[in-house]
């Protein structure tokens, strides 16, 4: 049985969950009702390092409605061993344990949970708690710890360390006729999804908990809760039907989950804990980093040497790791490459994966450096990228399953009008505004993860597909519905997707752009299994018109199973199920990476990003007036939601280029701009034309569906394209992101 002709896959499709969301019927974690619900409010430390010597609760306890206040002195029982606290994406180290002891590891660390009959009472009481501290020396400034940087001794699972050097990068650099060596920095960023972190833990009695959590992985959260609190797996259900954005901040269990569950267990009542926007600035961030990129080329622009060294921030207690520098060894052909990645410990919370973790900062530095090199060589910035095209992954010496990057370059350039570009900086202007055009390549993994799904076809022809995936706004609800509908040739309305529930078939966390490929392929496999069972029963029927058919001879569509060479020879699904005395056929499907294929191939998504900026020559005000993002991401399941993902990524990339920055007072070890008024993300006025192009890319190896995933590629390269455009406009090269007015005025 071959894949049915697609009628939903590939077609722009509205979100199936859209009406529920815009009418407020889609419930988020902190919106679920529960009888006798209690409300928790967290109190954060006001120092960055040291210990609590006393914590005064009397005033808070006297507030009417306060039920209990938990501190390190009376917290509930929790696991002892580190490994019990380690979730499925945890880095090596000692995971943070809320209220574990009097020790303070970062500013804003939760030191107390007030639980009250109302949210207002809890919040009021929390403001009356006063802690005394013995402070220890702290450091939140990466620059001061740069000299103590170290190679993380234990690697984070799923994060390949930099490859061994190849060739002799230093000597090649020395000998090359054209070279640059530059320092870059992308300042710390905070995720700031719209939905606040929240958990409603419903105490069901008899040891059972139903937990509504804002998370990117219901099963990861479920595993954490059972392991930390020693609960039976069957007694803990985690639900995350709808997630109001996350960008990676919901990959690991966050404070509110621990506190809601701990309080519910201790008080034997349902408890809700929500974080405020300010508190969300203490739960992980894109780490601050210092990068040095050294590139050398021959006189034609062919790369002779690539060196990329990074020092990135982590916390005192965990070695958070990302793939920052490896991209520099595989984006372009070069025989002499040396990459290094080190960490430095700061007194902050552990950083956390944020959209295209690693690539978003590492590729930014590489792509700015390559732009700088292109001017040194005197070659068009797009041309230098084409010239150094890598036809295989030179880090691992493996083939790409597909790489339509040349199509991204040419289709993107054509849409942008790149060939009209004047090469000299400051050569294009309109009145007081200098105009610049910049380009960057983007690259991100195309993962296929282990995932399972279930499909259930009812006698009435309706289909239910389920997997414990999460939809963080990416469109997962919709693509799984499309895949199910195409498998049986039925309308979207006849398919019900079920996701966001830890009791559903096994799924990884939603991240890494792998959900469409992994969970989508699992759903397709489950549907294929249902079709096989249906066919088996159909063939067994008395006088079956399909008696002589083989599996590959038949297809299912519009409620019938039929011979594709003679569609008149068919049976209805109702007939088959009736004859077999079945109400429904239910099967599971599983997918996972092919280890055999992985010995020869690697899979990546690629992009070319073109940006136009206008910079006020006197005032340094930057406007990003046009962006074209051309993406090679294999098969596009839903061009509408896929485009939204790229738009969002590009907007976030513009934010990285111009706006986003967590500002810390290093004397106090405190983030100061912890709200959306002072932590700037692009406003509507900052975003003008964004053109998204999906180039044709057929890939029969990357995943059974041919899908690569598009959640992160949109941000990769965008900040570099904007920075490169600013240089082309102004002749000023700012290497410290975000590129704010002060830096342009000073440059």
């Amino acid at each position: 049985m071959s894949v049915t002709e697609a009628s939903h896959i590939g077609r722009p499709t509205n979100r199936v969950d859209g009406p529920l969301k815009v009418t407020g019927q889609a419930r988020y974690a902190a919106e679920y009702p529960a009888p006798d619900l209690l409300y928790g409010y967290l109190v954060g430390s006001t120092i960055a390092a040291g210990r609590i010597t006393a914590i005064h609760l009397d005033l808070a306890r006297s507030v009417p409605g306060v039920v209990e206040i938990f501190t390190h002195e009376n917290r509930g029982k929790a696991a002892w061993l580190d490994r019990s606290w380690r979730d499925e994406v945890a880095p090596p180290g000692h995971p943070f344990r809320p209220l574990h002891s009097e020790r303070i590891l970062f500013d804003g660390q939760p030191i107390a949970l007030v639980v009250a009959e109302t949210y207002e009472a809890a919040r009021d009481a929390a403001s009356l708690i006063h802690a005394e501290y013995e402070t220890a020396e702290h450091c939140t400034e990466l620059e001061r710890k740069r000299s103590e940087a170290y190679v993380p001794p234990e690697k984070r699972s799923g994060i390949p360390p930099p490859p061994d050097p190849r060739g002799d990068a230093e000597q090649a650099f020395e000998e090359a006729p054209v070279k640059i060596s530059r320092d870059y920095r992308v300042n710390a960023e905070h995720h700031n999804p719209m939905e606040m972190f929240g958990t409603t833990c419903v105490f069901e009695g008899e040891g059972r908990l139903t937990i509504y959590d804002k998370t990117q992985g219901s099963q990861n959260a479920q595993g954490y809760v059972t392991s930390v609190f020693g609960l039976k797996s069957k007694n803990v259900r985690v639900v995350n039907h709808y997630v109001g954005g996350a960008f990676g901040s919901g990959l690991r269990p966050q404070h509110q989950l621990f506190f809601a569950v701990m309080a519910a267990i201790e008080l034997e009542r349902s408890v809700r804990v929500s974080l405020t926007r300010a508190q969300m600035f203490h739960i992980g961030y894109r780490p601050d980093n210092f990068q040095t990129v050294s590139l050398a080329a021959d006189r034609e622009g062919r790369l002779q040497s690539i060196m990329h060294d990074v020092v990135a921030a982590t916390s005192r207690y965990e070695d958070h790791q990302e793939v920052v520098v490896n991209w520099s060894g595989m984006m372009y052909h070069c025989d002499n490459v040396k990459l290094s990645y080190r960490l430095a410990k700061l007194d902050t919370a552990t950083p956390c994966d944020m959209r295209a973790p690693g690539a978003a900062i590492g590729v930014t530095a590489l792509e700015c450096a390559l732009d700088e090199l292109s001017y040194e060589v005197g070659i068009d910035p797009l041309e230098i990228r084409r010239l150094n095209f890598a036809s295989k992954d030179e880090n691992t010496d493996k083939q790409f399953t597909s790489k339509a990057l040349h199509a991204c370059y040419s289709e993107g350039a054509a849409a942008f009008g790149w060939n009209e570009r004047k090469p000299e900086p400051r050569s294009m202007r309109e009145r007081q505004e200098l105009i610049g055009w910049g380009v960057s390549t983007g690259m991100w993994d195309a993962f296929l993860q282990k995932a399972e799904a279930r499909a259930k076809l009812s006698a009435d022809g309706r289909l239910e597909v389920s997997t414990a995936a999460s939809d963080i706004g990416t469109g997962t609800w919709t693509i799984l519905t499309q895949i199910g509908a195409d498998a049986f040739g039925i309308p979207l309305e006849d398919v019900t997707a079920r996701i966001g529930d830890s009791t559903l078939p096994t799924s990884p966390v939603e991240g890494g752009s792998w959900t469409a490929a992994s969970n989508g392929s699992a759903v397709q496999a489950a549907c294929e299994a249902v079709k096989q069972t249906l066919f088996k029963h159909a063939r067994k029927m008395a006088n079956s018109p399909l008696a002589a058919a083989e599996l590959e001879d038949v297809d299912v569509s519009k409620g019938r199973i039929f011979r594709r060479d003679d569609p008149g020879r068919s049976l209805t699904i109702v007939e088959v199920m009736h004859a077999a005395d079945l109400q429904a056929i239910e099967e599971t499907g599983k997918v996972g990476p092919s280890l055999l294929q992985m010995t020869k191939y690697v899979s990546y998504t690629h992009s070319a990003v073109f940006a136009e900026v206008r910079v006020d020559e006197d005032l340094g005000v930057v406007r990003v007036t046009r962006v074209v993002c051309a993406v090679a991401a294999g098969r596009i399941l839903n061009p509408k939601t896929a485009r939204s993902q790229i738009l969002g990524g590009v907007v976030m990339g513009i934010g990285m280029a111009l706006h986003e920055e967590g500002i810390t007072d290093h004397r106090l070890g405190k983030i100061m701009n912890h709200n959306l008024a002072e932590y700037h993300i692009p406003a509507h006025a900052d975003i003008e034309d964004i053109d998204v192009i999906f180039v044709d890319e057929h890939d029969d190896k990357v995943s059974p569906l041919g899908v690569k995933g598009i959640g992160e590629i949109g941000i990769v390269g965008t900040a570099a394209a904007v920075a490169n455009a600013i240089f082309h406009a102004t002749g000023k090269r700012v290497r410290d992101f975000p590129i704010t007015i002060d830096k342009l005025i000073a440059a």
Partner: protein
């Protein structure tokens, strides 16, 4: 979220009586006060909801001026036909600020009373003389990229965040207040204070007084005016530097010039000496540059905000050029055009 009394008087006199308890605060649009309460910066004993007071009118005065009720929303004021026609500088400055949702809620009186956006003021775990007198100023030597370059003191380097007030300062407005001791009118430039040794006081209102309205005299700046705002993103951000300009040109020379700066000081900043020096000159770049240089001559940076001195100088010149050319900045046009 502290506990507080809540009263909603119908008359000004009842409101003034209700405000006569320590730490009572008037609530109008609530766009700043409610935030401050959530951050535990404001802990009012009593909220006097003044939204029922009869202060929602915009009236033309006999001399061609305006009287604006304290409860007129920023949106209603910005889109009022008379304001648009005769006080376009005011409309422009209002539209440069906040977002439509905020402007729909925020009021004229409340805008005057909005408090600084200094990070430390909003964080009760840090020292701040404005929040807790005598506790110190964390912004000095700290994160001060957005702070004052003019008129600051060793006790406080915060800036006033309003856009509307910058225009009102340029327009020589005055403020009607009413309190237990009766009514008085305060010239706008005397309404907000410099921080000095008492940075906890933002303005010269006495305890228990209520803003009832704003007075504007007939305006000479119908054609030659502008409001230019420079910020870290193109909308919904407080000014790094903003400049309101009103010019009156006659026979090719500057007959009258008012320039007010926002984002640079604890109050909208005027330099009357520099204005006097510009009077009688031809509206040309050289004169504008000299004026700008004079305004920033006394400016002092705190390190991170040093760039604001040069940015202010350049923005003043741009604003004067726009005003002189009669091509005021349109707030929905994000290109800060310069007429050649």
């Amino acid at each position: 979220m502290n506990r507080f009394d809540y009263v909603r008087p119908d008359t000004i006199s009842d409101a003034i009586k209700a405000l006569a308890v320590p730490d009572a605060r008037a609530l109008a649009g609530g766009t700043n006060l409610v935030d401050l309460m959530k951050y535990e910066v404001a802990r009012p004993s009593r909220i006097v909801d003044i939204n029922r007071l009869p202060l929602k009118a915009i009236e033309t005065t006999a001399e061609g001026g305006l009287k604006i009720g304290a409860l007129v929303t920023n949106s209603d004021l910005a889109w009022n036909a008379t304001v648009h026609e005769h006080f376009p500088l005011l409309a422009s400055a209002i539209l440069a600020g906040a977002s439509p949702q905020l402007r729909n809620a925020a009021t004229t009186g409340g805008n005057l009373l909005q408090r600084t956006r200094c990070y430390y003021f909003y964080d009760p775990s840090t020292a701040c003389n404005k929040r807790v007198p005598g506790s110190g100023c964390s912004a000095i030597g700290g994160v001060n990229r957005i702070h004052a370059i003019l008129g600051a003191s060793d006790e406080c380097i915060a800036v006033h965040p309003s856009d509307m007030c910058v225009a009102l300062a340029a327009l020589d407005a005055s403020v009607d207040v009413e309190g237990p001791d009766g009514k008085r009118n305060i010239p706008f430039t005397a309404f907000h204070r410099l921080p000095g040794t008492e940075p906890h006081l933002d303005n010269t209102m006495a305890a228990g007084e209520l803003i009832t309205g704003i007075h504007l005299s007939r305006c000479d700046f119908g054609i030659n005016h502008t409001y230019v705002k420079i910020r870290d993103r193109l909308s919904y951000a407080f000014a790094l530097v903003s400049v309101a300009v009103g010019l009156k040109l006659k026979a090719g020379v500057i007959e009258k010039v008012h320039v007010a700066l926002g984002g640079v000081a604890h109050k909208p900043w005027r330099d009357l000496d520099a204005e006097a020096a510009l009077k009688g000159q031809r509206p040309e770049r050289a004169a504008f540059a000299e004026f700008a240089g004079q305004v920033v001559a006394q400016a002092r940076g705190q390190g991170q905000n040093d760039f604001k001195i040069e940015l202010a100088r350049r923005t003043i010149i741009r604003a004067l050029e726009q005003a002189a050319a009669g091509t005021p900045q349109h707030q929905s046009n994000k290109s800060l055009q310069q007429e050649k």
